[in-house]
Point group: C2
Chain length 436, copies 2
């Protein structure tokens, strides 16, 4: 069969990985795909680096628009990132009738509805396995492998930087700032790590997971996003004593009245497999009605893991290119005329169990006042851990785990607890996910 | 689009699950598939039960051949099991130009080459996601998700019965016989559990994994198959003390000189995620050159988890039915004219680390003799655990972990060690897989 001609936009880390893997595994890949997948042209601003990487195996240009306009290109692999020029390039490639493969979660979280609509109109494919959890074939699992199921929820460790930082904080008992520095030194965090540590990257991915799992439009603007920057080492220690690990989770959960879409640190029972995903690794746990719980684990970033997903998409596109669009796997798993308008709920409506840490003066009746406030908000207590105050300390930490309640109930209770005379300073609240 | 008409062969546990899930999730499935997937006719010997299950929603027959000959049937779902009549039915369905979806690992491990060749000739699809690891979409991951990679090895907990038994033996310190009884009582083991506990079922699945991972023909007859029936509680305890768990693994490993295809109990470092897969759960760990290690976890058996995979295949078949066969995903991941004749190696050529347990008389020079024999076979020792002999005992257990060596070197060393005067009885040998 005739080779598939790929126009590669960007030959940095991921683009370089795609080039290297396509070259190294050319035989293995065409044994599977039934045709060679070859890079026909590369666009990169850094012509020098692009020439060194490709060793003159293909034409190179610094004009990405020339690639998306090139009639010899069958598929455009958009590996530039961001959502400015990347959006323009993707839309122009689609307009030119070319399929697009992208690793760009930000682009799809921000402009996915527009891009998929344009692709539908032109009858082309936009594939994005690499946009969520790097090399783990989680989009394929959600769209195809679990097609029999009503998916109930998915919870994922989908940002390697923050998982590395949390693993370091737990292992070494160090602060967030120290762990971030270590992550930057080892190349797990970027010089400006904001998107990772503030949870934005994970929220982009969780948004795409929610859309493909439930058949709803992409609604990044409704996601609740909380990062790990305010997490304290002491809470990781207390969580451990109570049998939990703290992980940054991206959660998409379907309820009768709407969808919860949220990213935040959460206590997870230490005995769960996903609680033991350490370092920069990713994992997504999916709960579905027929199959039950399934988990997908692997590297969520890096040149070759991401390239693995990009190339898998290129092979899929090569096969599906000649298929009637109605017989292709829909972009967001569900047929475009079958999306539901189930609302994404505000975080105040989310239901989670809570971990509460309070600094309490050692005086009679303090605990009674606190538990009364919780009872008034219909929040029941699952466990209390109270340290004996040290000699002459006069204050102590009280840790409480609650049963599931609505976020707004917890908010109201926390406000009242903080107003108690015996409670010193703010209450620290973390959410707790049983993931059963 | 027009509905897909499924002819269901067998409405026992799995067939009943397929029927129930198709009915319950009809809307969710057709929102994804773009057309209804409906059971057009059911064949089962037990007409009474079939009628109760289907509640007269579709015709029922006790003649399975009438279903594979029925012109109204688009896809045959073979859920009878075994490889007698199931083989005849699959071949006749193919001959009649029908696609086949099957959960039958025994059938494919024994007759897969014949069945896939027949399907190729007639241009139909034979899909078998449900045959390996139940509801986990591992065949899809191997064939499509990891298509960019040169797969190096796969190691799986792919039999729930034995994993349940091993979990019980470890948790409760009980013998194999006791744990088997418990598994039977709870429905995790059949009345005749031979296929499970002797490793045959796992070997069927490992054979299919090897073929799809490496692009080699199905060669069940060359698999090395060792079950868990001779496993002693004491070795599980010693393994634990050394930081390992004992798991029944199905292993497919590519080497330059051939493929290792083997099922046997193995020590696995307790810190590996796969070592913490407990009870009847399954997991497959895949090592590939670009993506690195990925792991897939879920329920490997049961009515609805298996149905989840069967129905995912039905959706795939519905989509690919109109596709030119050359653009479909090849049955065994690689194009049929691109299979390699890399030989499956005999177990004597397999390379693994070893766990050795010896009963040794407490006399000078005994350990020196043993280590000399290992050194002569070029086997290096990684760790030794020697219990102090109890008062008046005169004998003690010596546990050794070796570095990787060829099976035949270990065999030779064990024979010589057993011949030593200071060594009492047989040497217990288990293989050890680092899975790094």
């Amino acid at each position: 069969m005739k080779p598939v001609n790929v126009g590669l936009l960007g030959i940095g880390t991921v683009g370089g990985g795609v080039h290297a893997v396509l070259a190294r595994n050319a035989e293995e890949i065409s044994r599977r795909a039934g045709r060679p997948i070859r890079i026909a042209i590369v666009a990169d601003k850094n012509l020098e680096q692009a020439r060194n990487l490709t060793r003159n195996a293909c034409p190179i240009t610094d004009d990405a628009f020339a690639v998306v306009d090139d009639p010899a290109v069958d598929v455009v692999a958009e590996l530039i990132g961001g959502y400015g020029v990347a959006r323009e390039l993707a839309l122009r490639a689609i307009h030119n009738g070319k399929h697009v493969v992208t690793a760009n979660k930000a682009l799809l979280a921000m402009h996915g509805n527009e891009i998929f609509a344009a692709a539908r109109q032109k009858g082309v494919i936009v594939a994005f396995e690499a946009a969520v959890a790097g090399g783990i074939p989680i989009i394929k699992a959600l769209r195809e492998g679990l097609a029999a199921n009503r998916i109930e929820w998915a919870a994922g460790i989908i940002n390697g930087t923050t998982n590395f930082i949390l693993s370091e904080m737990r292992d070494k008992g160090i602060s967030f700032a120290e762990a971030l520095k270590e992550a930057q030194r080892l190349g797990y965090a970027e010089a400006d790590p904001t998107f990772d540590i503030e949870g934005v990257d994970a929220a982009h991915k969780a948004t795409l997971i929610a859309a493909t799992a439930f058949g709803i439009p992409i609604q990044f603007e409704k996601a609740y996003v909380e990062g790990i920057t305010r997490l304290e080492a002491i809470d990781i220690r207390y969580a451990e004593q109570l049998g939990y690990r703290v992980k940054l989770l991206g959660i998409a959960k379907r309820r009768a009245d709407g969808v919860e879409l949220r990213v935040h640190p959460a206590l997870v029972p230490a005995k769960r497999l996903i609680a033991n995903v350490e370092g920069a690794m990713n994992a997504v746990l999916v709960k579905a009605d027929a199959v039950g719980a399934t988990l997908y684990y692997g590297k969520g970033a890096g040149a070759e893991p991401t390239a693995s997903a990009v190339i898998a998409d290129l092979v899929d596109v090569a096969r599906a290119a000649t298929t009637d669009p109605g017989n292709r796997v829909p972009h967001l798993a569900f047929q475009p005329d079958q999306l539901h308008d189930l609302p994404v709920l505000p975080i105040t409506e989310a239901k989670t169990a809570c971990y509460l840490r309070l600094r309490v003066e050692d005086r009679p009746g303090a605990l009674a006042d606190i538990t009364r406030i919780l009872a008034d908000q219909e929040i029941s207590i699952d466990a209390i851990l109270q340290r004996e105050p040290e000699e002459g300390e006069g204050e102590t930490d009280v840790i409480m785990l609650t049963h599931r309640c609505k976020e707004k109930q917890a908010d109201a209770a926390i406000r009242k607890i903080e107003a108690l005379a015996a409670v010193v300073g703010k209450v620290t609240r973390l959410r707790l996910e049983d993931l059963q």
